[in-house]
Structure formats: C-alpha cells, structure tokens
C-alpha cells in the first residue's frame, strides 16, 4: 500500500494498455471456452458428436447475430433493449404476410424491413430527439411487443411456405446449418466494420468521450442513428431465422432475449460503459454460452441452474481481471 501507482487506476477500464487488455481478456475467455468444451466431452458421452454440436449451435446463433450489432451500440455508449420485441413484431408481420399468401422472398423482405423500421424509430427517438436510449428502448420494447399481442392475442400464425423453412432448418454443407454459416459471415463483416473502418474507430471514439468526438468533427447523431438501424436490421434477420426454425409465430416469441443478448455482449468483454470491446470477444462469448447451456442440458440440469451458472460466469469473468490487476498494483515494484 506504500507505493502510489504511476498511473491512476480507472475502474471502468479493464486495463492500462488497450492491446494487452484485449489480448488477455480474449485469451481468458477462449481458455474458458476450451475448458468448457473439454469438461463437456468428459461429462457426457453424447457431446462429441458432429450432429449434436450442430444442434447446439442453434442455441446461440440467432442471439449472436443481434449481439454483434448490440456490441457496436454498447461500445458507442448506447443500448437497445427492444431487440427481442422487434423480433416478435417482425415475426408477426411475416406471419400475417404468409397468411396473405406472400412467398418466401417477400416474407424475408418483410421481416427484415420491419426490423429496419423499428430500428429507425429507435434511432429517431435517441439520435434525433437526444433521449436516453435505455428509456426509449424500454418504451419501444413494450410498444413493439404490444402490437404483436394486439394482432395475435392467444392465437398463432403458421402455414409458412415450405421453402421458408430453409433459413432456420436448412444445412449449407454437411453439419453446417444455414444459421451457423450466416453467423460466421456476419461475425467477419462486423469485425471488419468495427476494427478496420473509420466508422468503427468513430464508434469507439464516441463511446470513450462523446464530447471530444463531437469536437473532432464526428457526426455523433448520424453514427448513433446508423447503429440503431443496424441493430433493427440484425433483429429482423434473427426474426427470419427464428420464425423459420419454429415454423410458427406467437407474440411471446423470443421473450427475454434482450437480456441474454446483452449478457453475451458483456461477457464478450465489451465495456457496458462504452468505449471498449471487440467482435472476437462476442463470438467467443456466444460459443461459451451455447456450450454451457447445451452441456448442462445434456446432463439434464434444470434451466434455472443454467441461469445461475451463466450469471456466475459473467461475474467471474468480469471481476477476475480487475482482481488480478489490483493484486499486481499492490505488489511493490
């Protein structure tokens, strides 16, 4: 306790040097993923089976697609809690369209279109009117799902065309489902967008210091609007996949997903306060969550215990680097 640290410790940043920090965070998360994989293979004789693992990917692919866009949004210092409600509304719209006899391409366009539309509503309210995103999206969460409930009540839409089933039940190659391939492609696209473009740098800049970003000539509102639109778009795509996988729509579809998606993003090392995070981390976090739920499912562990496990995982992975760093700082140099 005698030595004063050379640099002041900022508790909301997870390290002093950005590169070292992300290196270690992802390494840690990756180690966790590998260990969970090994533990699963030892614990259940059914785990190491290509088809079973393929089935397991469905537990996270749709949520991860939305999590990519959510990661950008959270890095920029905003949040969107209406994503699951957007999925419900987009799915309801597709269901209504399917009843009206619209074919598969039209249904996909409608699902994605409704998602984008909802994203635009959020974007106008947050970026245009400068309202706090957490309040706006809690509001639109009730609004979007409310519309789905008014349209459907306790009924369900079914009767999707057979070709529509491909998005949620089809396989591109061997055990690789369409959803999994789409997840991988989107991961690469978002990684490029965040880490290799001006846009991505600006998102980081806004999240670190919006005021400074504004003075550097970054059009903060335009970027935030784009991010909400992007989140809506991804929710629309997730709605297409989920609806296709279930083959029917109820207003309770994707209930509670918003928190699972935010958990995935935060577990992936994205700072909930904005300014820091990588797509790679979110990808690994998606695998960690998918493997844990599937592995525990194979052991027939009740769902509530899984939630506890995910919660503990989140707390441990967030606190561990902080504890290690404090431990290091206390050691005399």
């Amino acid at each position: 306790m005698s030595a004063i640290p050379e640099k002041r410790l900022i508790p909301d940043r997870l390290g002093t040097s950005a590169t070292r920090l992300f290196g270690s965070w992802e390494a840690l998360l990756f180690a966790v993923a590998v260990l969970i994989f090994i533990a699963n293979s030892l614990a259940s004789p059914y785990f190491l089976n290509a088809w079973n693992l393929s089935d397991a990917t469905f537990n996270f692919t749709e949520k991860a697609m939305v999590a990519f866009a959510m990661a950008l949004l959270i890095i920029s210092g905003e949040i969107d809690l209406s994503v699951a409600a957007i999925i419900a509304l987009a799915s309801t719209a597709m269901g209504a369209a399917a009843q009206a006899g619209i074919g598969t391409p039209g249904l996909v366009a409608i699902g994605i279109g409704v998602g984008v539309g909802c994203g635009v509503v959020n974007g106008i309210l947050v970026a245009g009117l400068r309202l706090p995103s957490i309040v706006v999206t809690i509001g639109t969460m009730s609004l979007f799902r409310g519309i789905a409930y008014i349209v459907l009540g306790d009924k369900a839409y079914g009767g999707y065309p057979a070709s529509f089933a491909y998005f949620g039940q089809g396989y591109v190659f061997w055990v690789f489902s369409f959803e999994f391939v789409l997840f991988a492609v989107l991961a690469i696209l978002f990684a490029v967008l965040l880490h290799a473009t001006n846009f991505g740098r600006r998102v980081h800049a806004i999240g670190n210091n919006e005021f400074a970003a504004r003075f550097s000539g970054i059009r903060v509102e335009r970027i935030k609007f784009t991010l909400f639109l992007l989140t809506g778009l991804m929710s629309g795509i997730a709605a297409v996949c989920l609806t296709s996988r279930l083959g029917s729509t109820r207003p309770s579809i994707a209930q509670g997903w918003e928190l699972e998606i935010v958990t995935m993003v935060v577990l992936g090392g994205v700072s909930i306060l904005g300014g820091a995070g990588t797509i790679g981390g979110v990808v690994i976090a998606a695998f960690v969550m998918g493997l844990v739920t599937f592995g525990l499912g194979l052991l027939n562990v009740p769902g509530i215990v899984m939630s506890i496990f995910i919660g503990l995982l989140l707390i441990v992975t967030i606190t561990l680097p902080v504890i290690i760093r404090q431990f290091r700082h206390r050691k005399p140099a």
Binding site: S24, V32, A39, L42, A56, L246, I253, G256, L320
Partner: protein, 332 residues
C-alpha cells in the same frame, strides 16, 4: 500468475461439469418434457412418471423443461434429449406448432414422441393423451350431482362460463345427452357466469332465490364452482344446497371444509404422468404402434384406447373429497 488463475478457473468449471453418469445399455430412457419447471401440477405428473418407471423396472425418466413457458426453451430441451439418444419423449407443449420441427427431427432419429396434457399438433407426435374425454366429463358431472342428492333424485342447475365457450358447451351437451341414464335427475336451468368471479357469484345467488327447488349447482368451470360455493356459504344454505363440478383442489379446499361441496372432480396429474410414461414405454418396446384404434396397456390405469386424430382419453376425472383434499391441495 495469469496462467495459474486461468487454470484454477478452468478446473472449477471442469469440476462443476464432471458429474459422471453411468448408463445401463438396455434401459429405456424417457424424456418427460413439461411446460416449465417449478409448477406443482407437473411436479405431481413427475411423481406419477417415477412411479411408472419403478413399476416397469428398466426405465429411466428424465424430468425436464424450460424455466419459463416458452417454445424456444422447450426446443433447446428437446435438442438436448435427442443428443442423449433417449428412446421416447413425452411432452406437454407450450406451443402446439412451434415444437413440431424439433419433434419431427426426434422422430426421424427413431425417438417415439407423444404429447400429454397440452397437445402437439398431429404432425409432431405419434399420439396425444388427454386427461379425460368430453363424454367422461359429462358423465362425471351428472354422477357428482346425483351423489349430492338423496337417492340421486332431485333438481339441479348448471352454472357455466360464457355462452360461447367451446369446452363448457360440449360438456353441457354431453350431460344433456346422458341425462336419461340418471332418471332421478332433473335439470332445471343453465346460467352463465362468464368465468368471472363476481358474475358467477351473482348468478349463483340468483339461482338460490329464484329456484328454491334446486338442491345442487353443477359448475363445470373452476371459476364458477368456487364462486358458487362462496355464494352458498354466504347465503347460509350449506347442507341445504350443494355445489359440485370441476375445480382445483387448492382453491376448493375451503369449500370442502365448510361443507358447501362434498366432492368435486378434475384430472389427476399423478395418473397423467404415470400413463404418459406407460404409453411411451409400450411404444419403445414395440408392443403397440399407437395408431388410431389401437389399445395400449397402461398398468394400473387399465387399457387406453387411441381414438380419432391419434388422441386418447386417460380416464374419468378424479374425484376429490374430504379424505384426499389435504394431500392434493398442496400439489395444484
């Protein structure tokens, strides 16, 4: 240091997941999938399933379900069961349609799929087990009314839900159809409480004043039977007018204690879980194909006949009275 921490963390996870399980090769594994865990009705069904497993010997029942009543959660559970190579899945579905793709995949991999309690649409299962049938429910309601009357003779009235509620109308229709089998019974009138507590209460009150000859009120709805019992108790007509019908033990315990009703009926979740397990076992063993028209032996529940649409009715609704109400009011 960093490495050490990582290893410590990792081994903690490994330890948490390393619960080794031994599987006997020829055990029949049946996944009992419920709408959500932590629901007394389904806990009771599991009790029945375990009873059946014990009776059959070579059965392992995996009682599982999502935390909340969603189709997505049930699909994750179904995928986990498919991965474990279970022999059969018996499901009470949160959504009759959304679980079909997952269940079709299960059937394609040789798993016998049945639904019970809450049905899966026809394409997604071999057969569905209803707790009872309309015919049996109608008969039971008449039987209950007769039991409350001296020598089974006297006037009774029906307190229903809404005039448009399909279930209630079908049951009332069945009661009227079977009335000739109960020569002492005389149906005076049918009133509708819309499944609202206050309206049902007022309708029951109206019956007590306008129809003094009515000695039994039969309410084939859980809301109605509760409200009518309250109305009889409040009018101080306990022992003079009785209430019976379909009710939940936890809600009706008070009415049994006060004497407003002697007995009422509803399905028994223990029997339902027991029968679902028995049927799943017979299907796995190839003793039956579960096709419409077939009869399936279900242990102490006797033979269960599969009817049109692949739907089967388990048994008469189970009768609850002062002797067993305490046991069941804790369950559901």
């Amino acid at each position: 240091m960093k490495l050490l921490k990582k290893l410590a963390l990792g081994s903690a996870f490994a330890f948490a997941m390393l619960t080794s399980q031994a599987y006997a090769a020829d055990t029949v594994k049946i996944g009992l999938v419920v709408k959500s865990l932590g629901n007394g009705f389904f806990e009771a069904a599991n009790k029945g399933a375990q009873e059946a497993a014990k009776e059959l010997g070579d059965v392992e029942v995996i009682y599982t379900g999502p935390t909340s009543t969603t189709a997505e959660g049930q699909i994750e559970v179904i995928n986990a069961l498919i991965a474990q190579n279970v022999n059969a899945i018996a499901i009470s579905a949160n959504d009759p349609d959304a679980v079909i793709p997952a269940l079709k995949k299960a059937m394609a991999r040789g798993i016998k799929v049945i639904s019970w309690d809450s049905a899966v649409a026809k394409d997604g299962r071999i057969m569905h087990l209803n707790p009872s049938s309309n015919e049996l429910i109608g008969k039971m309601c008449l039987q209950l009314a007769a039991d409350h009357l001296k020598d089974g003779k006297g006037d009774f009235a029906i307190l229903s839900a809404t005039t448009t509620s399909t279930n209630q109308n079908t049951w009332i229709e069945e009661m009227k159809k079977q009335l000739p089998n109960f020569p002492g019974l005389n149906l005076v009138t049918t009133v509708y409480g819309d499944d609202l507590s206050d309206k049902s209460y007022r309708e029951a009150q109206g019956l007590l004043t306008s129809q003094p000859n009515v000695k039994v009120i039969v309410a084939p709805t859980t809301v109605g039977v509760l409200a009518a019992s309250q109305a009889v108790a409040d009018a101080k007509k306990i022992g003079d007018v009785y209430v019976t019908g379909l009710g939940l033990p936890s809600e009706m315990a008070g009415a049994i204690k006060s004497g407003a009703t002697k007995e009422f009926a509803i399905w028994n979740p223990i029997d339902l879980g027991y029968s679902a397990t028995q049927i799943a076992y017979r299907l796995v063993k190839g003793e039956t194909d579960g096709a419409p028209g077939s009869e399936i032996a279900a242990g102490r529940m006797g033979k269960i006949k599969v009817g049109d649409n692949g739907e089967a009715a388990m048994a008469d609704p189970f009768v609850y009275d002062a002797k067993n109400i305490d046991q069941f009011s804790k369950i559901f």
